[in-house]
Structure formats: C-alpha cells, structure tokens
Amino acid sequence: MAGIVTLEKAFWALSVLLKAGLFALLLYRKNHRVYPYLFTYVLITLMQSAVLFATYRVWGFESPTARNVAWGVQGLVIAARALAVAEICRRVLARYRGIWALAWRMLLLTAVLVLVYAWAVSRPNWQLAILSTDRGLELAIAVAIVILLLFAKYYEIALGTTVCYLAVGLFLFSVFSVLNNTILETWLHSYATLWNLLGTLAFVASLLLWIWAVREKQPETLLEPELMPQGAYHALVPEINDRLKGLNEQLSQFWGVEANRP
C-alpha cells in the first residue's frame, strides 16, 4: 500500500509538471487563442493541483473538508473539460453550417440522455451521488466525442491531426474515468488507493497526447467552404433519398430479402 502511495505521489508530481508544460506550450505557440476553452481547462487543472496540495497540507488527505474541496473543484474541472470538448466539436463541424445545426442539437440531447441514463442505472446511494454525477458527465463527454467522430466520418469531414490527438486524449481519459469510478463504486474502500493511482496515470497519458497535439501553432481560422444556395438541398436531397430507397427496394424485392428488416 505504501508503495502505491509513493508511486501515486510521483505520478501526481509528473502530472503537475506536464500540465505546466502544456499550459506553457499553449501560450508559447499562441494556441490559447485557437483553443481558449482547452486553455482554460488546463489552467483550472493547474489551479486544482495547487488547491488540493494546500488542502491536504492543512486538513490532511482523509479529512471531510479535504474530500469536499476535492469533489467541489472536480465539478469545476469536469465542466471546463465539457466546454473544451464542445469547442473541439465546434472547430470541426461549425464550418458546415447545416450539419453543425443538426450536430449540436444531437450532441446536447445525447449528452443529457446519457447523463440521465447514468443516474438511472447508478446505485441508489446518496453517499455515492457525487461519484455517480462525475461518472455520468465523463460518459456524456465520451459519447459526445464518439458522435463527433461519427459525424465527421459519415460526412467525410477531415479532422486534422491536432483535433484527432486532442479527441483521443479526452475520450480515453473520460472512458477510463467511467470504468475507474464504476469499479470504485463496487469496491469502495479496498480500491480507493489504486483508483487514485490509475486515474493519475490515465491523466498523464492524456496530457502527453495533448502536448503532442499542440506542439505546433494552429491556424486561428479555417477555410470555410462556399455554401450552396438553400434550394439545392431541398431540390436534390429528397430525390436522392427516393432513388436510394428505390435501389434498396429493388435489391430486397428481387432477391427476396425482407424489405423491412434492418
């Protein structure tokens, strides 16, 4: 156990160093103008480290005050991360006005649904309410990133290397947090120390990905495609859908595949 605690401290120190490095890199490459919410998120996590360090020094690691402060700051951190994810979604899709209008509504709706689902399937225990909320938010973030990637793949929109690395880092950390919190919920006390260590490790891995992502200066504005007149969509797309339906029906009818099967 003592070994794990020492290792955790070492990784915690490493994560603070990496956060400071990422913060400096964002400023040095002027990428804080391109990703202001990501920059704010990194700044908040840095402040979180300072606040937690001071809290643990004053009240001790196991004290209720330290726990309240830690979870309170965590709420702020996760909200900042959600905004960073929204910023990435916007950067990828907002140039395509029509798709973006559809995507942001879908992203928001799905995030809310996932949050409700996460709450619904959680253990009915008020002591674990914060943990459940944290897990629900992490799950919503992970789902939002997957939806963004699915949109980009479906509409053949290039993500770019930077966005890709940022998304991978955010997704992996969120997914790992969901699993880590789920295990913690089941084996609360026996897993707590390992939970901290694994969480820090996952965060270090994500930080390395983000540092790699923003190592070069990013263009502040991206080329916007020249949009078609509104009428083109309404004139062509329903007709194309009809043709697709026709091909589908011909295929299913001719070869005797049931047309209504998925």
């Binding site: 990637l149 930077t162 089941t186 949009l227 194309i240 697709l244 091909l247 070869w255």
Partner: protein, 192 residues
C-alpha cells in the same frame, strides 16, 4: 457486482468499438473526393453497362446452352452467370454509394439540412448494407439457385430505363451544383 457495473462496462465497450471504427483511416486511398468531383461523377452510374449484363443473363441464352452444350459447359455457364450477378450486385452498390456521396456533399455544403432526410438516409444505408451482404453471401455460398437469377434481366431492363432517366436528371442538376462547388476546390483542401 450490480447491474450498473455490467451496464457501464458494456457501454464503454460499445463506445470503444465505435471510436476505433470512426477514427480508423480508410484502407482505400483517395476515398474522399473533392466536392466538385463527387458531384460530377455522380451521374456516371453503371446504367450504361446494363444492356451487356442483360444479354449475359438472358433466359434464351441459358435455354440454348442447356440444349446444345455438355453438362460441363452448362455448369460453367451457371458459374459465369453467378459471377455476373455478383458483379451486377457490386455495381448496384456502387450506384448506391455514388448517390449517397452526392447527398453527403450537398448536405455538407448546405446552410440548412433537414434532420428527417439525413436520418432517413442513414436508415437506408444500413438497410442496403444488410440486404447487400445477405444477397452476396447467398450468391457466394451457391444458396441462391441460378434459375432464380433469370428474372434479373427483367429487373435490369426495368431499372435501366428508370435509372438512366433519373441519373440523367440528377446528373444535369449535379453538373450545376459542381460548378458552384468547383470554386471550393480552387481554394484548396478543407483540412482542419
């Protein structure tokens, strides 16, 4: 372990699979065509080759061969007919994908899209992929009897006329749209 334990692990598993599938690069190089080229190429379906396919699958040919040729030759012809059916199936898919790509480009370049149309297209794509795989597997496994393919010529001739007309109409409109979109190509790639 509670239900939520398995529920979250299952959900994360699904998310990971979707994530890997979504970030995975296409094995086929140059799959993402510039907007203008997609729109220009849309009108060029496989309709032009349908008369040859119709000939290859003609009932009269089949009857003639079974009367005149040896059993080996008849078997060989059946194999060839299956190959043609597979090729035709693949061509239908190409037509489907060509139309699909065109719709995606139009949606991408439109200031407003209708969610209903977009979701309908996703549903149709999934349905087509399902039907396509079922038919293809049946053909490959020889489960689909060759006589069952005789009616293909009727379908082909019917489709030929309807598709040719439709594709020509769409092609004309696509050419107009391509003109609008070609300016985008001249402005360079849309890489983030």
């Amino acid at each position: 372990m509670s239900l939520s334990f398995y529920a979250f692990f299952g959900l994360v598993g699904i998310l990971l699979l979707l994530f890997v599938w979504a970030v995975r690069k296409s094995a086929r190089p140059g799959k993402t065509l510039p907007e203008a080229r997609v729109l220009e190429e849309c009108g060029r379906g496989h309709v032009g080759h349908l008369p040859q396919i119709r000939q290859a699958l003609a009932e009269a040919d089949s009857l003639y061969i079974s009367e005149k040729a040896s059993a080996f030759a008849v078997r060989r012809v059946r194999q060839e007919r299956r190959r043609v059916a597979l090729a035709y199936l693949s061509a239908v898919r190409e037509d489907f994908q060509s139309l699909l790509r065109m719709a995606k480009v139009i949606a991408r370049l439109s200031p407003e899209v209708v969610a209903l149309h977009e979701f309908e297209r996703v549903r149709l794509t999934l349905a087509f992929a399902w039907h396509y795989q079922i038919v293809r597997l049946q053909l490959l496994a020889g489960l689909m009897p060759v006589p069952g393919l005789d009616g293909l010529s009727d379908l082909v001739s019917g489709l030929s006329v309807r598709m040719e007309t439709a594709m020509n109409e769409l092609g004309e409109r696509a050419a107009l749209a391509a003109e609008m979109a070609s300016s985008l190509d001249r402005r360079g790639p849309h890489v983030a």
